[in-house]
Amino acid sequence: MTTVRQRRSETVLALCLIAPALVLLTVFLLYPFFKNFTLFLYHAPPYPGLPSKWAGFSQFFDTISSTSFLEGLTATAIYTVLVVPIGVFLGLVLSVAAHQKLKGMAIYRTIFATTAVSSVAVAAIVFGTFMNPVLGLLPWLGIDTNPTILQNPTWAIFAMAIIGLWQFIGLSFILFSAGLQSLPEEVLEAAKLDGASPAKAFFTVTIPLLSPTIFYVFTVGVIAAMFTFGQMDLLIGPGAASAVHVNTLAYQIYQYVVTQPNPGVAACISIALFILTAIVTLANFRFLERRVNYDV
């Protein structure tokens, strides 16, 4: 009897403890996630308040075969390819440099990590000023700013990638720094004593031991890059000459929700983006995780 009562009170306590997280998860994650699947099956009504019209899967297939979706897919892919590998590489290089026991390293560490905690609005203002055709650095460096880099169909996506890279390097730096600090010091010392040069020790010992962190940073970076749209909206916007080249899928979702509301299409693109992200992440696990060493 006591056991039954005890078990019941433990269950109540467990539910109470889980409740806050469960509520947050339901409101902000589960409900929107499943709501999305109902939205994508209906055409949005032309005016609010009118009934939605059943579309089935046709709306989804129309959306993903549209030119704008393919442009968005291209922009998203270019952006991700530009930001993630370079961000992983530079984050690793900077964290290794800052890991050296030299004077003043704490200042460098703080500087490198700051970009991770700067909002995209701040990043957009800073880089928007740099890239300003009158006030910015580009004319001073002798770079043709007519059309401006943000309006230039070829270069606009690179400008967006530089901003994304600047932010991602901070996160990558912090994660690699934590990874480096958790490496067993004795193993690195053993490599030195075994005659390995610093470069050889880095590639044959540090990198394999750091491979779980590298894999994690890469995977998180890919996911984050595929959902980027902040700087595109803040610096370029939908009407610009370069707009179609920076209209990432996430930015298209934003536009179909906020500026030209069409929840049905927004839901279709978001599901397509969800599927794409899942495929890329699974591919990462399938092909990259094989090379990861979890033995420490």
Partner: protein, 348 residues
């Protein structure tokens, strides 16, 4: 192979002084044990030979050449770490081969050397395994193999047995001694375990609080400790150190006269008594029993006289005193005498 020399080496970490002017020479081919309690500076001294720490002042020399500015990878010393420090992502074979790969040694010779060393240490069956698939003892042997395979001028061993169980530790101890004799490579072995030091070293250097206390063979340290610290640290159990008083050719402990004269000494003195130089008796020096340790063939009675502790041996069948009971002891051999203030040995 090469000699190793510390010349007035000091080491400070911030304001904390870890080594205070260490002067020590390790002969070519010698097995020297650096012995001392935790924090005495022994590991720091070892890491200086490896090049993993730099002296604050003084020099470290290997084979007669000062190596203060030589990087660890160019010192040609091999180190066995307390936690083995194996490369977790590499197989046993690749771990052993790692130091050879850093040199211009052909693949055939590398493979041959790995096979030979693995054979020597009984690792031939384990070459394809990863470190996580090995027991503590096996990992230890891989660490030794990795050190041996490159034939360095000096082996540095930092408490390599401390993670092994008692049986394995005793076996590995004799295995290391056998290998060192076979290879005749200069070896510096750090430990806080005086049994390891006594059983393994050609000589032992005892350190305490950054100061070198004494260097000598195990027998020298056991029989002629230079100070009270060495006397208390060496031996199993170490010497019991008691406050005594020497006056007019008579040695008294706690007001009780002993049969010893302590000739030439006067006033307060610390005496050192080995366990076989004292026995329980029906009268003599009064002490209070703190406990009894049964070790099988013999029993150790732990007691205190004021602030001093003493250990007395008793036969296994003798009646055992109870904790808190008053017992009497008497000295059966002349004790060693140490200065009551400095702890240094005083000769009569």
């Amino acid at each position: 192979m090469a000699s190793v020399a510390f010349n007035h080496v000091t080491k400070k970490f911030g304001d904390t002084s870890v080594l205070n002017g260490l002067d020590l020479e390790v002969a070519d081919g010698e097995f020297l044990v650096l012995l001392g309690p935790s924090g005495c500076g022994k590991t720091t001294a070892l890491r200086m030979v490896a090049g993993l720490e730099s002296p604050t002042t003084g020099t470290v020399a290997i084979g007669g050449s000062v190596v203060n500015d030589v990087a660890p990878q160019h010192r040609d010393v091999a180190m066995v770490f307390q936690n083995y420090a194996l490369y977790p992502h590499l197989s046993v074979a690749k771990n052993i081969e790692f130091p050879l790969r850093q040199r211009d040694i052909s693949a055939d010779i590398r493979a041959q050397k790995v096979r030979d060393v693995a054979q020597m240490l009984g690792l031939a069956e384990l070459l394809d395994r990863k470190p996580r698939q090995l027991s503590g003892g096996q990992r230890q042997r891989v660490a030794l193999a990795r050190a041996i395979v490159r034939e360095p001028v000096c082996f540095l061993m930092d408490e390599p047995l401390s993670n092994l169980d008692a049986t394995l530790r005793a076996r590995t101890r004799s295995e290391i001694v056998r290998l060192q004799h076979e290879l005749a490579t200069t070896t510096i072995f750090v430990t806080h375990d005086q049994v390891e030091a006594m059983t393994m070293g050609d000589r032992i250097a005892v350190l305490n609080a950054g100061d070198l206390q004494q260097v000598g063979t195990p027998t020298e340290l056991f029989e002629n400790p230079a100070n009270a610290f060495v006397a208390g640290f060496i031996g199993n159990p170490g010497m019991s150190l008691l406050s005594a008083n020497a006056s007019q050719g008579q040695l008294a402990i706690g007001g009780t006269q002993t049969p010893f004269s302590a000739s030439g000494l006067n006033g307060a003195v610390t005496i050192g008594v080995r366990i076989d130089g004292v026995e329980l008796s029906s009268s003599g020096i009064a002490a209070i029993c703190d406990g009894v340790e049964v070790l099988g063939a013999e029993v150790h009675v732990l007691a205190h006289l004021g602030d001093d502790q003493i250990i007395v041996r008793q036969g296994a069948s003798a009646p055992r005193p109870k904790i808190g009971e008053q017992i009497f002891i008497q000295l059966t051999t002349e004790p060693l005498y140490f200065d009551a203030v400095t702890g240094l040995r005083v000769s009569q």
